[in-house]
Symmetry: D2
Subunit: 302 residues, 4 copies
């Protein structure tokens, strides 16, 4: 496997990078576009890495999976009363759908849905910010995970559309706390920094029936794990869920920081990072790495 | 396995049926709502059945998978020039999306997409109707498969929305042949009658890397098969792809005739039939059968 | 007044024409773009003309006002059960609105609304085609008004979007007759040919409380006339009702053949013609003629 | 005229009130629903009143006309660079239109448009709040006009949808100042209290070519006045512009406080007040008063 990882890393490293680093969040625009890393961890505990696998980057929307898992583990199916489980079709109509569906977002992996999840975190957690970080550290088995205050502030200063979404849902009664407090949690979530290795560790329980292999700690039930895996499969890649499913064939989640995490049930989790994004907001080289990985190893859920 | 099949059949058979038979197609409204059948076929060739597994019913939208497979096998990736691969989000905005996306349907498993596929069939097949039936018969290894003229006419007389879709796409230049000819093929496709056993046989190649196990005939490449499986996973269940993925965890396709087919890669295909539909247009008892099957056998792609 | 008419005609005639002749209907694309005509008729019976005022052209959507008047005069307020009275906002969402508003078009002056009106004509008229022409001839006091078979066929061959609209409304039950029959009437309406003089004559009753000045024949009640004038004001200019109201300040209706008719209540009706259209589908020079007319004469309803 | 005013007042007073007082703004929900007033002022300076004509109420959206007039008088046609002049069709798609039209609201008389106008006020006025009140006082010739701090705070606490709109437009770059500052001005505008008499006085310049009759002060040019009158005609009544134009036939503007102001060019302005609203948000009895007025006096622009 280390051979495969090295090979595909070299292959992608040599290619011309076409994607563009996300510019709408000023702090992210400063990242070196040539960064490239991959980390794969098997449920047996073997780790394979290549490139910038141990460098931290902004996980952005990948945090939505952590937040959903945390809330799901606490309140169970009540989660679905305020957020749906279906693909949103296309980014373009998120506001239309919110309007017609009375402020209930399509799923927790789009911005509107994650804002509702942030609102729930305030309701159910003693200290949402601290508890959220603790949860991720526990999943990754690594205390050295933090959020980046600069990125958080950068997002806050420019995240008008998220403010719009939160207030719009509040007008439907689907945000219970003060919008400012909710968005504070939301922007904190997005600004967590992690490396590929940390992400691969933290996602491994999704490949292992909801249990962290290293600690045997049960995070979610088998059924709940299956549900979140299915959610990642259908909703994890913005407007490109179908394309990702085609090319990679694994459930996962991407972020505009250039990271992507995916899992193969009962076998492994894998995280990649490359800041250049394609037109849909997914890491160009990251998708290529994962496509080569599944092709060369013949692994896919399909 | 026969034990499991018998058990879940009995369990569902005893339940009160809540779904409603599709009424908008008059011929379908006449079906006995108490019908219930299941057929599972392994790639090793073993068949397990229960209930009305050998009774023919109208496959309706399940035919979209056959049509897409046939065209895909002939023209390859050119298919995706005129039809997308992404979930459509929600039925409600199909026309909006068509308008904004210049007449390119979201995927070939929704009505608009299948109408484009029917248009392609006219372009590439000598005799679309005959060739389509031959293709299905070949997949199922069964010559006794036909379309139901009454159902076809019933759909033609009431399918105004499909006529609207076809003309709308024609106005964007995405229908090449005469709308009447295209819809004739489309309604023919929908009105094909098959039994659960025939469907399980016909879908088995999707679980076997694109090759029909019985005849070793290659229908699609491994990569193409993975693509269509992924498409079924994300787009096969109308506005309930997420829910189905949650509850069943297998790629598949449903039809308003009450049939559902699903596959577990490298293991089996399974077809169920029960005419009562839930609010989203999927067979109520059929989904329950499949959910019980994957739960009891612990099989799921996630 | 003849002075004013001559002056503004000369002024516009000398300008460079920027608009484009409608190309999507092949027959209309053949028209000489330099045509320019104006005819103004006072309720006292005085006629002022300039340029190509007596040359026939395709009235296109102006016919929607005639059809609405005819049906309104026969069935009164029952008309509004199947078609609304509000502006449609923007052309882009016509299909969205139809979907959300259950197949009830926003008003009878957009395509969808006029198709419903055509459907009503079949219900209430012995011979819709003949009766429609008779009605226009009666309004204009001129037997020499016909429809153009070539234009009608040209529209039929390319009017896929109208076929889509009709079938879509049929799926909601808001078209009672066969779609083909309804569209036959609709395309006939659009293909009527009239000159500016004939149009000014035919619209004069709208400026005269619903009575044809020349014959004292009552077509609509005072209240009904006010209603249709109001409808023309808010809905008569596609996506440019506001702009037209700003610049001209008179109720009216335009067509893609390049004609525009407007009225000043209690004073006059005026028709202009110039085939070059602006980006919104209204006659570029026609609007300019009317703007100059109302500016120079200080006449406007505002 | 006083006779007519008295008659129609009595007639409407005796009717059962069907409308509902606006509940979504808590302060407005406390208003006595039986209030009914009317004030009509001719450009010759004669005032006719009946009922609660001199009692102040919250003018709400009527303030949008004042704000637009003030900004239009200062920056002229530059106003239209950031806000359109066309009807919005229907309230339901305001967010859709904003999204597709890059954050440019359809017109300044809908919420989104008035928020942009409030943003412009901050740019061009030394003291927006004070200057806005001064402007209204000047128009009305009455220093005793104020805004209601309680209503303003009540709107601020519940106006999540307006916060959403403002942030959404900010994300498109069409709000230049801090959203909080802009909304502060916006909510202040909405919470101005005026009586029917004050409103009739303040709107009289719209009926008099842009000049205040009492002071001969020129507020807008003839052309600008025509433009705003046209805008009120097509966009002044939420989703009921067509119906109002039908029934009343005068340009005007309504507010959810139950007030409506309308003008007959060259003749009069008229203000009515009754807090019960119909399903579209317009005063039920107010519309009836105006309909009776124009019917009995035979006055209408059509």
């Amino acid at each position: 496997m280390q051979n495969v990882i090295d090979n595909i890393y070299q292959q992608v490293k040599c290619q011309v990078h076409n994607g563009n680093v996300a510019r709408y969040i000023p702090e992210l625009a400063k990242i070196d576009p040539d960064k490239l890393g991959i980390a794969l961890k098997t449920i047996d505990g073997v780790l394979y890495v290549a490139g910038d696998a141990n460098e931290s980057f902004s996980i952005q929307s990948i945090s939505k999976v952590f937040a959903t898992s945390l809330v799901f583990s606490v309140i169970g199916d009540d989660l679905w009363r305020r957020v749906g489980k279906e693909p949103s079709g296309s980014s373009f109509n998120s506001l239309v759908q919110l309007e017609y569906e009375n402020g209930i977002p399509r799923n927790p992996l789009i911005n509107a849905g994650a804002i509702v999840v942030a609102d729930m975190m305030i309701d159910i957690l003693a200290n949402p910010e601290k508890d959220f970080l603790s949860f991720i550290r526990r999943l990754a088995g690594d205390q050295n995970i933090h959020f980046d205050e600069k990125v958080k502030n950068s997002e806050k200063d420019t995240g008008f559309r998220n403010v719009a979404l939160a207030n719009f849902m509040k007008s439907f009664g689907n945000i219970h706390n003060h919008v400012d407090d909710v968005l504070d949690i939301y922007f904190m979530m997005c600004s967590v920094s992690m490396s590929c290795t940390q992400l691969a560790n933290a996602f491994l329980f999704f490949a292992n029936h909801g249990m962290i292999p290293a600690t045997h700690e049960k995070i979610l039930t088998i059924s709940q794990t299956k549900r979140l895996n299915a959610l990642m499969q259908t909703c994890g890649f913005y407007d490109e869920a179908g394309e990702f499913t085609f090319r990679v064939g694994l459930p996962g989640k991407s972020g505009v920081g250039g990271g992507i995490v995916a899992i193969l049930p009962k076998q492994y989790s894998v995280a990649v990072w490359s800041p250049g994004l394609n037109g849909k907001g997914n890491s160009e080289s990251g998708m290529l790495l994962l496509e080569l990985l599944t092709t060369k190893t013949g692994t896919s859920i399909f």
